[in-house]
């Protein structure tokens, strides 16, 4: 009788390891942030003079996943009739033209400079480092129980002639 051997080759090939794309987790985190940011545009009202032209979101610092995600959002969403414009901001001086300024955690030290540049304007300052909502930021991302949450400083929002809906206030951790 002809001897038959077990063929393992195809089995072993199929058992090969699945590989995680390197930035998959960063993309997922950026998606959460983008959903939050889109929510901010629904629950916060800018003055009439800011309702013309593009709705500018400036990102201070380097985060390719976040900028990519915001650009993706910009292709399908608007703020009323305004189209989103996502800008990578290098210097705080560029922040004066933004509706939303998102300061990445690595650039948190630039918050005072940004605050100086947006004085008298209507910009929503969003930060990503514990404690910054008490230091001038309007909305700050923080982590609680592995979850991304937001703390909101109402007076830091209203200071810039922005109106915040009570719904957003209730869904946030309030900071004074």
């Amino acid at each position: 009788m002809k001897k038959l051997v077990f063929i393992f080759v195809s089995v072993m090939l199929l058992s090969s390891w699945m590989v995680v794309p390197a930035d998959q987790s960063e993309e997922a985190n950026a998606k959460i942030k983008a959903i939050y940011i889109y929510n901010f545009t629904k629950y916060i009202e800018w003055p009439e003079t800011y309702k013309e032209g593009n709705f500018v979101v400036g990102v201070l610092g380097t985060s390719i996943p976040l900028v990519n995600e915001l650009n993706k959002m910009a292709t399908s969403k608007t703020v009323g009739t305004q189209k989103f414009e996502i800008k990578s901001v290098v210097s705080p001086s560029e922040c004066a033209k933004c509706h939303i300024v998102y300061i990445l955690s690595d650039n948190s030290a630039q918050l005072p400079d940004v605050l100086g540049k947006v004085k008298g304007k209507s910009a929503l300052i969003v930060t990503d480092k514990s404690g910054l909502a008490t230091k001038g930021s309007a909305i700050n991302f923080f982590v609680d129980g592995n979850k991304q949450k937001i703390e909101l400083n109402k007076s830091n929002i209203e200071k810039y002639k922005l109106k915040v809906a009570s719904t957003l206030v209730e869904m946030s951790v309030q900071v004074k």
């Binding site: 051997v5 199929l14 058992s15 995680v20 889109y38 129980g145």
Partner: protein, 295 residues
């Protein structure tokens, strides 16, 4: 009256002897036809013999039937991964083995069962794709049944169970990845298959890593599939569910890491899981290890 009864009994006995001889000669005829290569005739004769009460319990008849069917399989059905002829051959050898009180064909029966079971295993392996996976599962189940019959050493079989479970899990994962919304069942099948591999060997690095990745990807997909319109309350639910999945992924990935601390894929996986759990320090720790290995 008595004479009539005696004649009747004699007649019945004569007929029984004739039938008995006729059945035995059918077995002989089947064997002769087999040797002559006349497989249809061999099959017809042996099929008739094994259903007759006189030879249904004859181990030799069943052995010959197995041999006839095996020869038909080898000559005409080898390309057919779902060959019923092969199954009939296996049934026949098994039957012969169970009733062969004279122990005439024990070794031959075992050898033939092993041979045919091996063809089933190989066909199962060759069917491990997104189209023929059901054939793979069916063939492996039959292979298991018959192989364990002739080689009951569970230890020898363990490796094959693990390899197959890992491989079929990979196939299920591919099907799921092709249509995440429509084929969720396959995600569960993949997890069940990896669990099966891990039940045989909790230290199987492949099953641990891939199970970790399954949960990890499920969590990431949950977030990435969310619409930008999601309100914050719903986003919190998405985050809760994804965190549970990231946490479910962690022990498998940690186990894979403990089994091979220098495997790049595991370090990348752990860095990703901790990043997603917003434990940035731990994430960076694994990222740094990964960079050190890369140097």
């Amino acid at each position: 009256m008595l004479k009539l009864r005696r004649t009747l009994i004699f007649g019945i006995l004569l007929l029984m002897g004739f039938v008995s001889n006729a059945q035995q000669s059918k077995v002989t005829a089947a064997y002769t036809f087999l040797q002559q290569g006349k497989l249809d005739s061999a099959k017809a004769n042996i099929d008739a013999a094994v259903v007759h009460p006189e030879t249904i319990g004859d181990g030799q008849a069943w052995y010959i039937r197995g041999f006839v069917y095996k020869t038909i399989y080898n000559q005409t059905e080898k390309a057919n991964k779902e060959s019923k002829i092969r199954i009939e051959a296996l049934i026949s050898f098994k039957k012969s083995l169970s009733i062969d009180t004279a122990q005439e064909n024990v070794q031959e029966n075992i050898k033939n069962i092993k041979y045919l079971a091996t063809t089933l295993y190989n066909d199962a392996a060759a069917s491990l794709d997104t189209i023929d996976y059901k054939i793979a599962v069916k063939n492996f189940d039959i292979f298991r049944e018959y192989y364990l019959l002739v080689d009951p050493s569970k230890e020898n079989f363990k490796r094959k169970e693990i390899d197959f479970a890992n491989a079929i899990a990979t196939v299920y994962t591919r099907i799921y990845e092709g249509d995440r919304k429509g084929k969720v069942d396959f995600l569960n099948l993949a997890k069940a298959a990896y669990n099966r591999a891990l039940a045989f060997d909790p230290n199987n690095i492949n099953a641990n890593y891939n199970m970790g990745i399954l949960y990890y990807n499920q969590a990431v997909n949950l977030i990435n599939q969310s619409d930008y319109d999601l309100d914050i309350v719903a986003l919190n639910d998405v985050q809760d569910n994804s965190i549970n999945l990231f946490k479910a992924s962690l022990p498998f990935m940690e186990k894979a890491y403990s089994l091979d601390p220098n495997r790049k894929e595991t370090l990348l996986g752990l860095s990703g899981i901790y990043f997603s759990l917003n434990e940035k320090e731990k994430s960076n720790e694994f990222k740094q290890k990964l960079e050190q290995i890369g140097k």
